[in-house]
């Protein structure tokens, strides 16, 4: 009886910590949400379109990508293509999470929307599957709520300000992509791929329709990713 009492107490402590971490990361991520909302509605998207992406697509990198490609004069098709290529990493996260989450039917359909960078990172930190599941759901749900509120605030704020280049909002887009990229640059191979991707995109800009040079930059990742010594790296097996 006392051991179950102690176990319940311990679980309660773990539960609180997981919840606190989830809210903390959601507050941090909401600053991306405000930036995204502002940049989105200051570019070619309406407030409704900017917000719809946050509810339905709910994956920051892809949302920024669609907005960015459209802002630089790219076609909607190349914007969508870039967004989907960026979103493909969520498939890898899902594969990693599936054995832990054990979800079927409606629960799986709901869980899928929450498969993003942060919920995956928070879930895979825990060995205990029950804690990992709790971390996934609480992180996913808190970010979903705050991300959408933040998007609306940013979108309404920017559309009230007016002319985006007067406030340097066009420069904010490049800075936002760099900030999203930054944590991945700890890996030396990633640094080379990043420089290669930037170089390819810029070199092709004068020759191709806007939006397509960024897609071509993705080929740098394919070339390096298939390089035998890169495939064999222990980091690649994670």
């Amino acid at each position: 009886m006392s051991t179950t009492g102690a176990a319940a107490q311990e679980w309660e402590a773990v539960r609180r910590k997981v919840l606190r971490d989830a809210l903390g990361i959601a507050v941090a991520v909401s600053s991306y949400g405000i930036s995204y909302g502002a940049i989105g509605s200051a570019s070619r998207l309406s407030v409704a379109q900017t917000c719809a992406l946050s509810v339905l697509a709910f994956t920051g990198g892809s949302q920024f990508a669609l907005v960015g490609v459209l802002a630089s004069g790219g076609s909607p098709a190349s914007g969508t293509a870039t967004a989907l290529l960026l979103g493909s990493r969520n498939t890898m996260y899902g594969l990693r999470l599936a054995p832990t989450l054990q979800v079927r039917g409606l629960r799986r359909a709901l869980a899928a929307q929450f498969v993003i960078d942060e919920s995956t990172a928070m879930a895979i930190r825990h060995r205990d599957e029950r804690v990992a599941r709790l971390a996934f759901w609480t992180t996913g749900l808190s970010i979903f709520v705050l991300w959408n509120v933040a998007t609306l605030v940013g979108a309404l704020g920017a559309s009230a300000l007016g002319n985006p280049s007067r406030f340097g909002l066009d420069a904010a887009v490049g800075a936002a992509f760099l900030a999203l990229l930054w944590p991945r640059l700890a890996d030396p191979v990633a640094r080379v791929v990043a420089l290669g991707g930037a170089a390819v995109a810029l070199l092709l800009t004068p020759f191709l329709t806007p939006g397509v040079p960024v897609l071509a930059a993705g080929l740098v990742a394919v070339a390096f990713g298939l390089w035998p010594s890169v495939v064999a790296r222990p980091e690649a097996a994670r």
Binding site: S35, R44, Q49, A52, L53, A57, T59, G68, V69, L70, A71, S72, P76, G79, T80, A83, L84, L85, L86, S88, R89, T91, M92, Y93, L95, R108, A109, A112, V115, R166, G168, L169, D170, A171, G174, A175, A176, F177, L178, A179, L180, L181, R184, V193, A194, G196, G197, A201, L202, T205, L208, T209, P213, V214, A217, G218, L219, V220, G225, L226
Partner: protein, 100 residues
């Protein structure tokens, strides 16, 4: 057309997430697929950052946006939070435009 892109992106992003939870792990287990998938965001985000900063339609341009990006690099090296990086870059670019 913008709505079409918004909806196509939304449906596509959701299906990519759902596929990860639904597909048997061995389908995408190849080390090559994994290796490319992990590097793809790096190349695309770098390409996007470069084009957003130096691209102007079909030409390249060195303008106030470059000053904004330079500020962002310094801010990131100093481990500044996301909002400080992004808002600061916008402010620097606006300042350079006001002065120039």
């Amino acid at each position: 057309m913008i709505w079409a892109a918004v909806l196509a992106t939304s449906v596509g992003c959701y299906l990519l997430k759902l596929a990860g939870l639904s597909v048997p792990a061995r389908v995408l287990e190849s080390p090559r697929v994994r290796s490319v998938a992990m590097l793809l965001p790096v190349a695309l985000l770098a390409g996007l950052a470069a084009v957003q900063t130096f691209g102007l339609g079909r030409s390249l341009s060195l303008d106030a946006r470059a000053a904004g990006l330079a500020y962002a690099v310094v801010a990131l090296l100093l481990r500044a939070p996301f909002l400080v990086v992004v808002v600061g870059a916008a402010a620097v670019a606006a300042l350079v435009r006001a002065v120039a």
